[in-house]
């Protein structure tokens, strides 16, 4: 069973990368999707901030490459 956090993030990735069947893990990274460009990163961050009610630091956003980084910045 996936953690609820990962599940909620997966909904966001499916939406932003426009792929309804997408399954992600903590290892899922920019190399795994050609649609994950810098614009997509910002969209992912905005949607994640809204979903979890947090504000992510600029440093993290600028270096965001994989799902694991994002998960570690989110509350349980």
């Amino acid at each position: 069973m996936k953690s609820s956090k990962l599940q909620r993030v997966q909904v966001i990735f499916r939406e932003v990368l426009d792929d309804e069947r997408l399954t992600i893990t903590g290892d899922f990274s920019q190399n795994d999707s050609s649609d994950w460009d810098s614009v997509a990163t910002v969209q992912i961050v905005l949607a994640t901030e809204r979903e979890f009610g947090v504000r992510l630091p600029t440093e993290l956003v600028a270096q965001l490459k994989d799902v694991g980084q994002l998960l570690s910045a989110l509350p349980d």
Partner: protein, 733 residues
């Protein structure tokens, strides 16, 4: 983990945040045994709850179990509420039973939910419709969400869905394509999808050209740039405070303002000299942080003061083809907390914050609708609890709340004052109320607290028939399209009825609080205009005269008798600069009796009247009931011995009176005097000008060529036989 005991009675009354927290801690047994039986009774559950509940059920794989217990059946208690039905739809989606999911979504009355919840559910429904390859249905769901939402994430989702719909079926956009160039000093990557989606939900399909980030000057100055090759109809100049260079400000603020203002005016002149387009200039917003505190607004070298002066200077020097967006005013309405996110500038050169973008896009859309003839014309109003508090038929004259005695009465009065302002700007008002006619008129005639009076309305329907029938009657009587109607009613059931029966009518989602009516109505910017003319203030009177004419028509024995008895007189003349604003308004607003619907810009029109190769003529009409002002226009391009009718249009107020023949006779007469041999007419079909499809063939023109959307007609001048009319020539202006 020790489980938590949930008190079911308390859960039912808990707010959504509490529900979410408790749901998070629940395991699959609790989902099945505690939550499932009471889903439909959770009073404060909304969109977030449904999403999370569905995710939990997905993760624990319990939808099959819930289905076995009949929760998804249409007989189950879940079907009794919106949240319940939504959960059922989510369940069917998880079980790959999309057809059943869609039928649940379709049975939801979306607007009974609040905005925050109803828009996501519409998009969920669109997703399923896309999977089932039903593009039209999907498009309808997305349009509802897109038109009504100002939420960034919702609109981004909608934009993605539109792309998905396009992959299913290329929507035919021949009548609504608008070419739009974005010259911005910030990135447009986040704005573009929103702008495209909002426009499309209003029936406008955009081709967008965007200059490279902050390369707008180069695009403007270089005559060979992509901007000029793109040939836009609209150029949006998107500046903001960040691109202003403040370094010269401390030396001479006035010079700084002048230089910046002149640079922008130079941009306007260059663009307009090279393109036949309109410009939308975004004024400057204000920085949130100013190191000099209050002095920034009042000190001689203050930044806020300088930016305000620059905005004022742009408005002062505005050209006719330039429209301004009051960007700092918009910023104030939206508020700094939504408008500013410094991170987004540093990370992506996005300004303002993404959450502010939906509001920016809504402003653009009001303008785009205005220039494409999609501005609304008539406001249909309910009475009880819409124009006054209470029910006149039950509470009586003394019981209704209107006027300055009570706070509630004051809020209704303020709404009426706003409506009166709209009326004086040329918006038509009509009443549609379920009431006895006598009761309905009483407050207008006898209550001191009322602002509106009976003669402010062009139609007054107070009866017991269904409201869609009354609205259709109003449309027929005034000869207006339903898509120019806006409907305001406090009763959700009436709103739902109109949405279902008359989808062309725009229905305002009125809040419970009368003090908020004004902002709900204003939010959609339905009545935005780009020109103001003398005819605006008299429009209501014109339409009332129209109603009197109709009465006369009813009592006349034949159409000829009726037209004869009107005593019509026309006057006409060459289009001159003095009448140009009204002419431009006609060119932009006229949809039905318009043979070509070519929306010439003010500047293009002004060029036409100054060249010898155009014959132009305006027509005005008056009769015993009053003067209607300029209601007809003909523009002809003269190509040696051939006269080509570029524009032949008539305001809908003048339809059915024979003016079109008077106009054509006049045109043919002039062609003859100018020794032209052939007159060529064009019919370009749109969604609205069906009624003039056979205009030329009815008058003995023959078809020269015929393609899908364009028919070209011709007639030898010597062979034309004028139709007689009952219109006298008043004078030659």
């Amino acid at each position: 983990m020790n489980s938590i005991t949930l008190d079911v009675a308390k859960l039912k009354e808990s707010n959504e945040a509490t529900l979410l927290a408790l749901l998070e801690l629940s395991e699959s047994t609790a989902l099945k045994e505690v939550w499932a039986p009471i889903i439909h009774e959770l009073r404060h559950a909304g969109c977030k709850f449904v999403e999370r509940f569905a995710l939990k059920c997905d993760a624990d794989d319990i939808w099959d179990a819930l289905c076995e217990k009949c929760y998804l059946s249409s007989e189950s208690a879940w079907s009794e509420t919106l949240v319940g039905k939504w959960c059922q739809a989510k369940g069917f989606e998880a079980l790959d039973r999309d057809a059943e999911a869609l039928s649940r979504y379709e049975s939801l009355s979306l607007f009974s939910l609040n905005e925050r919840d109803s828009m996501p559910v519409a998009l969920d429904a669109a997703h399923v419709a896309c999977r089932l390859k039903k593009p039209l249905l999907a498009e309808r769901f997305v349009a509802i969400a897109t038109q009504n939402s100002n939420d960034y994430n919702t609109l981004q989702r909608a934009a993605k869905l539109y792309k998905r719909i396009d992959r299913l079926e290329q929507v035919n956009a021949k009548n609504g394509v608008l070419r739009c160039a974005l010259l911005f000093s910030s990135t447009t990557q986040f704005l573009e999808p929103l702008l495209r989606a909002k426009a499309r939900s209003h029936g406008i399909f955009l081709e967008i050209y965007s200059c490279d980030f902050n390369n707008f000057s180069q695009a403007i100055y270089d005559a060979e740039s992509d901007l000029y090759h793109f040939k836009p109809d609209i150029v949006i100049l998107g500046r903001n405070w960040r691109d202003l260079n403040f370094s010269g400000l401390s030396d001479d603020p006035e010079k700084w303002v002048l230089e910046n203002s002149e640079e922008i005016q130079q941009h306007w002149r260059l663009i307009l000299s090279r393109l036949n387009c309109r410009i939308l200039q975004q004024g400057f917003d204000l920085p949130e942080h100013t190191s000099d505190g209050q002095l920034s607004a009042s000190g001689k070298t203050g930044r806020l003061r300088a930016i305000r002066a620059l905005n004022a200077s742009l408005v002062e020097n505005k050209l006719a083809l330039v429209s301004m967006i009051d960007f700092s005013g918009l910023q104030a309405r939206v508020g700094f907390s939504t408008w500013s996110d410094e991170r987004m500038w540093f990370l992506a050169r996005q300004h303002p914050a993404p959450d502010g973008l939906p509001f920016v896009v809504s402003e653009y859309l009001a303008f785009l609708r205005a220039i494409t003839g999609k501005t609304k014309k008539l406001l249909v109003l309910d009475l009880d609890n819409t124009l006054w508090g209470g029910v006149i038929g039950e509470d009586g004259l003394g019981g209704i709340k209107i006027g300055q005695e009570t706070p509630q009465g004051e809020s209704f009065r303020a709404f009426q004052e706003y409506l009166l302002e709209l009326k004086s700007r040329g918006v038509l008002l009509a009443v549609c109320s379920k009431n006895n006619a006598y009761d309905a008129k009483l407050p207008f005639e006898r209550h001191d607290g009322m602002v509106l009076s009976l003669d402010d309305f062009v139609a007054f329907k107070a009866n017991w028939q269904s409201k869609d029938a009354s609205i259709i009657q109003i449309a027929e009587e005034l000869n207006l399209g339903l898509d120019s109607f806006v409907f305001v009613d406090d009763n959700a059931a009436e709103r739902a009825l109109i949405r279902r029966k008359l989808p062309e009518v725009t229905v305002i989602e009125l809040p419970d609080e009368p003090a908020d009516y004004k902002s709900a109505l204003e939010q959609g910017r339905w009545f935005e205009a780009i020109h103001v003319s003398d005819e605006d203030a008299n429009r209501t009177q014109d339409y009332c005269n129209q109603a009197q004419r109709r009465n006369l028509q009813k009592s006349a024995s034949s159409l000829e008798d009726y037209l004869e008895s009107l005593g019509m007189r026309a006057s006409q003349g060459v289009v001159d600069s003095q009448r140009l604003d009204r002419i431009a308004q006609l060119v932009h607003r006229t949809n039905q009796f318009n043979l070509t619907s070519r929306r010439h810009s003010l500047e293009a029109l002004s060029e036409m009247i100054n060249t010898a190769c155009y014959w132009t003529q305006w027509f005005s009409l008056s009769d015993q009931f009053g003067d209607q002002g300029i209601v007809g226009l003909v523009l002809v391009e003269i190509r040696e011995k051939e006269w080509h009718i570029d524009t032949f249009l008539m305001s809908c107020r003048a339809i059915g009176r024979g003016l079109e023949d008077y106009m054509l006779n006049r045109l043919m007469q002039s062609a003859k005097e100018a020794k032209a041999e052939t007159v060529v007419g064009y019919y370009e079909s749109t969604a609205k000008n069906e009624q003039v499809a056979s205009f030329y063939s009815d008058r003995s023109f023959t078809v020269r060529s015929n393609t899908e959307s364009l028919v070209v007609y011709e007639i030898e001048v010597s062979e034309f036989e004028p139709k007689s009319t009952t219109i006298d020539n008043k004078m030659n202006a």
